[in-house]
Symmetry: D2
């Protein structure tokens, strides 16, 4: 079960080398996670109002080809692990409608308590949705 | 009473035109406000722990000459108005040790309650420091 | 003749005050300019390949109400002046489908030569499109 | 041979979770590379004027503890591989004067021709400096 979102490269995403600055892909991965969670009915705003945070604990990216100003990009987000304590996703960024992967990535988030800062186990309210998505992914 | 802070232009501050993206000067103005307030003994972290926020309500910038990657810049921050309800500052950005102004700016912040979102009047704990700085500025 | 574009507030657009950082609206104004120009058949990529740059010379913003994570925003871009030497635009940002203006803004760009850095007069290839849009705006 | 640079966390570096947004550490790693190269006499501006680019091909980060607004941070940059075709660095970010690592990272850059986009072998003018630094690192 992969989720795709689409966006344009803005002028402010570029740098002096004439292409997208590498840090922006890390930001775009985040939009993929948010859209994936939205697609299975999980709202990060609701999670925060339940005093649950979801800090990033690891991120990786490999850069194969540069994206450029005004490109229309497609971000494909796939869940790798979705448990009560962490979420891991893989990412692929392509130009819309093209096969070639420009950038691939990975991220890991854990769930923590807004009050204690400690890692917590996600309530079923959220976990059951993650688990259902993961089972579909495994099939 | 002006406060100066110094910083380098980073690669990620540049854009496809080969110079600093204009939005970054708006961010740098913020660092000038923070350093000005620090210089008169006001900590924004303390203010937030007192449930006071300081949203920006207006900003202006004029861009005369571009800054480039690796330039060492000087930001001069001058208070224009410091009252119980708002702060207004003027900014000048130059290359370190040069006279020519690259970018000038203006900002206005108001003080609001973290709980109600409404504009508040700043407690004397903070205001007296602002007022002292403003009197020195007027002399 | 106004042009509207729509986008979500991302997590990375927010700051410690829990709302969108003010500098991001300045970036979003840029996306409005680009979409306005696209709508009248002008591509900034083509302009750059013709060795024409379009540096920002002035920007202003007034902040009335904060936007928040995951808000869907609408940016309305209106041309104020479109000549052979400069472009001025006004901006209004609202939540999608709402009347209330969150942030309003203004920008001025000039056209310069990539080779000399000097202000130039835009070739008719581009200017006639700007002029037509401006005449429609005045009607 | 490690190089350290120091900087403050700015307000605009934070996000809605009240801490530094994870993408900013990726940007900071870049400042460490630049300072490392400066320390051994290599200027990226000069490299670009020689038509050599240095795109990032891989980045990784592990996030152990969050940095907060106004923290003074120390970035330690260590070379891992410096050859004619690529540079690999490791990074450690701590609060200034503290032992605890907040974030660790890794990056790989390759050298490419500005004209062809292909990977090139770095001229001795630059490589000899990199090689000397690497030999010192190995000792």
């Amino acid at each position: 079960m992969s989720v795709k979102n689409f966006f344009r490269v803005h002028f402010y995403d570029t740098d002096l080398m004439g292409v997208v600055h590498h840090s922006n892909y890390i930001r775009w991965f985040e939009t993929g996670r948010v859209e994936f969670l939205r697609s299975i009915g999980i709202s990060l705003t609701e999670m925060m109002s339940d005093k649950i945070l979801f800090p990033l604990t690891e991120v990786k990216a490999k850069y194969f080809h540069p994206a450029r100003f005004d490109d229309e990009l497609e971000l494909e987000t796939n869940p790798l692990t979705l448990t009560k304590v962490k979420m891991e996703f893989n990412y692929k960024i392509r130009r819309k409608g093209e096969e070639e992967i420009l950038v691939s990535g990975y991220s890991q988030n854990v769930f923590t308590s807004m009050e204690t800062g400690k890692i917590i186990r996600l309530p079923d309210k959220y976990f059951l949705k993650l688990d259902k998505a993961m089972i579909e992914e495994m099939d």
